[in-house]
C-alpha cells in the first residue's frame, strides 16, 4: 500500500526514533481512550477526539510498516523497553514484520468501524462509554500484537476482553445478557488456564520474555530446563488461543456473542480480536517454541498417519489441523441454515478461521523451510482477506439494520433495488469470502489451496474444496434472501445513511485494491512470515541480557538505563 509512494522521499530515516515508533500506536489509543472519557459530556468533542485518535493510529501504523519493515534500509524489527528496564526483566515491545502486518489489518478495519460508529451511536445512547471502550478494545489488540512478554500478552488479552464483555452486553436485553454471561464465563476460564500455563512456564524456564524464552528453549541443557514439560504447558496455551480464534471445539461462544454485540463491534471482534488468537499461535509456535528439542511421535491408530519430529511443531500442527478441519465443516454447515445475516456471518467466521489455520498446520508439520514460510504467507493473506471481507459484511449488517431496523432474512428482500451502493458493497464482500478474482479473497484461497497442493495432501484439498462449496452455498443464499426477490415492507421504507455507505464503499475498494495490486501485499506478507520464522533475528532484536551479566543496581536507578537503546 505504501509502496506506491516514491521510495526516495520516504527512505530517509524516520521522523522519530524507531524505538519510539513501536510504542506510538499504543500511546495514541491510550490517550484517545482517556480523552474521549474526559470529553464524555460533549458529544462532538468526544467524537472528534476519537476520530483524531483513529487517524493518528493509522499514521503511526503506516510509519511502522514503512520505516521498520518495508523501506529498503529498514531494520526489520525494532524494540522498546517500557520504563527503561532492560530485557528480560522489563516489558519489551517488539514491532517486526508479523506484528506490523497484523497492526495494519486492525488499523484499516478499526478506523472504518470507528467512522461507522459515529453514525450509529447517537441513536443508541448519547452519553455512553462507547468510545472509551472502543479505544480500550483497540488498545488490548494493539498491545497483544506488540508485546514481547508472555505475561504482558495475558494482560493485553484481559484489556481486550474487559472491553468486549461490555460490548457483548451492550444492548442490555435478555439475549444479550445471556450471551455476555456465556462469553464472560468461558473467557474467565480461559484466562485462568492462560495464567496457569504462564506460571508453569515461568517456573520451568525462569523467564517470560519471549526472546529469552526462545533462546533458552533452543538450548535447554545450558539453562537446566526440561523442555518436555514446556510442551504440555504450551498445549494449555494453545487451547486458550484456540478459544480466542474460535476454532472447533471452542467455537460455541461465537454465534451468540456475535449476534449480541453491536454489528460495528462484531466487525472488530471477527476482524481483530480473532486474529489475536491466530497471531499468538503463529508467534509462539514458530518464533518461541519451535526450537525446543522435544521428541514428538504421534500416530493415528488405524490410518497409518503419523507425525514425528524433534520439535513441538508437529504436535501443534496435528492438533491445529484437526481443529481447523472441524471448524471448516462446522462453520460452513452451520452458516447454511441461519435465519439472520449476522447469524450466517458468525458461523462463516468459524469456518474461515479454519481456512486460516489449515496452512498454519501444514507449515508446522512440514520439514521443508520453503513450504513452511509459504504456509505462513498463505495464512496471513487469508487473514487479511477475512478481516477486510468479514469486517465489511458485519458493517453492512449494521447499515442494513440502520436502514430497515432488522437483519432477519425472512424480513428482508429486494435490498439490491432499494440501495444499490449497499448491495454492491455487500456483493463485493460476499465474493471476497467465496474467493472470486480479482478480489483479495481469490489470492487468499488460491494460496491456501497451493500450500495444500505443495504439501501433496489430497485429503486436505478435498476438505478445502468442501469448505469452499459451503461458502458459495451460504453466500448465495444470504444474497438471494436479502438483496434479491420481492421487496418486503421493511425494505420499502428503508433509508440509508450516506456516511455508512461511504465506509462500506472504502472497504470494498480496499478489497479490490488488494486483489488488483497484490504484489506489494504478498511481499509484506512474505516479510511477515520471514519475521515469524526467524527466531534468531527476533532474539537478536530484543537481545535479552543474562541475569548474571546485569548490574541490578543500574536498573534500580530507574531513569538511568533509559537512554541506551535509542
Amino acid at each position: 500500500m505504501i509502496g506506491s509512494v516514491p521510495a526516495t522521499a520516504l527512505a530517509a530515516s524516520p521522523p522519530v526514533a524507531e524505538s519510539q515508533l513501536v510504542i506510538a500506536p499504543l500511546l495514541i489509543v491510550l490517550v484517545a481512550a482517556v480523552g474521549s472519557l474526559l470529553f464524555g459530556r460533549w458529544t462532538r468533542a468526544r467524537i472528534g477526539v476519537s476520530l483524531l485518535g483513529g487517524a493518528a493510529y493509522a499514521v503511526a501504523v503506516a510509519a511502522i510498516d514503512w520505516y521498520i519493515v518495508l523501506a529498503p534500509s529498514a531494520p526489520g524489527a525494532a524494540t522498546y523497553q517500557v520504563g527503561g528496564w532492560p530485557a528480560p526483566f522489563g516489558i519489551t515491545l517488539v514491532a517486526d514484520g508479523l506484528s506490523a502486518f497484523m497492526l495494519t489489518m486492525v488499523a484499516i478495519l478499526g478506523v472504518a468501524s470507528l467512522v461507522f460508529s459515529t453514525r450509529v451511536l447517537p441513536e443508541i445512547d448519547r452519553r455512553s462509554y462507547y468510545f472509551p471502550l472502543f479505544h480500550f478494545l483497540a488498545l488490548g489488540v494493539t498491545g497483544a500484537f506488540l508485546t514481547g512478554d508472555l505475561f504482558n500478552l495475558f494482560v493485553w488479552f484481559e484489556v481486550m476482553l474487559m472491553a468486549s464483555y461490555i460490548f457483548v452486553a451492550y444492548y442490555g436485553g435478555p439475549q444479550h445478557t445471556r450471551a455476555a454471561f456465556w462469553y464472560v464465563a468461558l473467557n474467565l476460564l480461559a484466562s485462568a488456564v492462560f495464567l496457569l500455563a504462564v506460571g508453569g512456564i515461568y517456573a520451568t524456564t525462569g523467564t517470560l520474555n519471549m526472546a529469552d524464552l526462545s533462546r533458552r528453549l533452543a538450548d535447554p541443557a545450558a539453562y537446566g530446563i526440561d523442555p518436555r514439560s514446556v510442551l504440555g504447558l504450551y498445549g494449555l496455551l494453545l487451547s486458550v488461543f484456540a478459544i480466542k480464534a474460535g476454532l472447533v471445539p471452542f467455537q460455541f461462544w461465537i454465534p451468540t456473542a456475535y449476534r449480541a454485540a453491536p454489528p460495528q463491534i462484531t466487525a472488530l471482534l471477527a476482524g481483530a480480536t480473532k486474529k489475536v488468537g491466530i497471531y499468538a499461535i503463529i508467534r509462539l509456535s514458530f518464533t518461541v517454541f519451535a526450537d525446543a528439542p522435544v521428541a514428538v511421535d504421534l500416530t493415528v491408530p488405524g490410518t497409518g498417519l503419523a507425525v514425528a519430529g524433534n520439535s513441538p511443531l508437529p504436535f501443534v500442527g496435528a492438533v491445529l489441523f484437526v481443529m481447523a478441519a472441524a471448524s471448516i465443516l462446522v462453520g460452513g454447515l452451520g452458516a447454511v441454515g441461519r435465519e439472520s445475516i449476522e447469524g450466517v456471518l458468525a458461523y462463516s467466521s468459524i469456518g474461515q478461521v479454519g481456512f486460516i489455520a489449515v496452512p498454519v498446520a501444514i507449515a508446522a508439520t512440514t520439514t521443508s523451510p520453503e513450504l513452511r514460510q509459504f504456509g505462513i504467507v498463505a495464512a496471513l493473506v487469508y487473514a487479511l482477506n477475512h478481516t477486510l471481507a468479514k469486517g465489511l459484511l458485519f458493517l453492512a449488517v449494521g447499515a442494513v439494520r440502520t436502514a430497515t431496523g432488522t437483519s432477519s432474512l425472512s424480513d428482508l428482500g429486494g435490498l439490491a433495488g432499494r440501495s444499490p451502493p449497499l448491495a454492491i458493497s455487500f456483493f463485493v464482500g460476499a465474493l471476497a469470502l467465496v474467493g472470486i478474482p480479482p478480489l483479495s479473497g481469490f489470492f487468499g484461497k488460491f494460496l491456501v489451496f497451493d500450500v495444500a497442493a505443495r504439501a501433496e495432501a489430497p485429503s486436505v484439498l478435498a476438505l478445502l474444496l468442501a469448505g469452499s462449496l459451503l461458502t458459495i452455498a451460504y453466500a448465495t443464499r444470504t444474497w438471494n434472501r436479502s438483496f434479491w426477490g420481492a421487496r418486503t415492507a421493511a425494505v420499502e421504507e428503508a433509508t440509508t445513511d450516506s456516511v455508512q455507505l461511504a465506509v462500506l464503499g472504502v472497504l470494498a475498494a480496499a478489497i479490490i485494491a488488494v486483489g488488483v495490486g497484490f504484489e506489494p501485499v504478498y511481499e509484506f506478507a512474505d516479510a511477515a512470515a520471514e519475521a515469524a520464522l526467524d527466531a534468531d533475528a527476533y532474539v537478536d532484536a530484543v537481545d535479552p541480557a543474562d541475569a548474571s551479566d546485569v548490574d541490578l543496581e543500574a536498573g534500580g536507578e530507574g531513569g538511568e538505563t533509559g537512554g541506551e537503546h535509542e
Partner: protein, 154 residues
C-alpha cells in the same frame, strides 16, 4: 444494618481504615501497598458508611444537600463525582507515564529524589511513581464507589 452498634463502630473504624489506606498508598511505591490496595481500603471505609448510615447519608448528612426521593441513582451528584474521580485518575496515570517522554526517556520511566534535613521527618524520599499511584488510587476509588452506589441503590 443501621443499628446503634453498627453506627458507633463505624464512627471508630472509618477513620482508622482511612489512615491505614493513606499509609499503604504513601509507602506503596517501595514497600507492600500501593494505589490499588489503598484505593480498595478507602472504598471499604465508604462501604461501611453506606451500610451504617444508608446510601443518601453522604449527600444529606456530610455535604448538606437535599436529595430528591425517587431519583435515578446513576445521575446522583455523588455518583457523578465518583465517575469524574475515575476519569481524572485515569488521566493522571496516563499523563504520569507520558511525562518521561518529554525528558527523552521511555514511557513509564520512574525516578526519585531523597530530601535530607526536612523538619520532623529528616529523611524523605520523593518518588515519581507516586503520581502514577495516585492515578491508580483515584481509578480504584472512583470505579468501585460508582459500582457500589449504583448497584447498591438498585
Amino acid at each position: 444494618m443501621t443499628t446503634v452498634i453498627m453506627r458507633t463502630t463505624a464512627r471508630v473504624i472509618v477513620p482508622i481504615i482511612l489512615v491505614v489506606a493513606v499509609t499503604l498508598f504513601v509507602e506503596g511505591h517501595n514497600l507492600p501497598g500501593g494505589g490499588f490496595i489503598g484505593g480498595v481500603l478507602t472504598t471499604t471505609a465508604f462501604a461501611v458508611i453506606y451500610l451504617a448510615f444508608g446510601l443518601d447519608f453522604l449527600e444529606r448528612g456530610v455535604l448538606g444537600r437535599d436529595v430528591e426521593p425517587g431519583k435515578e441513582p446513576s445521575r446522583d451528584r455523588v455518583v457523578v463525582a465518583y465517575r469524574r474521580l475515575f476519569e481524572y485518575g485515569l488521566a493522571i496515570a496516563v499523563l504520569s507515564g507520558l511525562v518521561p517522554l518529554l525528558f527523552d526517556r521511555p514511557f513509564l520511566t520512574q525516578t526519585f529524589v531523597e530530601l535530607e534535613g526536612v523538619p520532623i521527618y529528616d529523611h524523605v524520599e520523593l518518588a515519581s511513581a507516586v503520581a502514577f499511584d495516585l492515578g491508580v488510587y483515584c481509578v480504584v476509588v472512583g470505579g468501585l464507589l460508582t459500582i457500589l452506589s449504583v448497584v447498591g441503590a438498585e
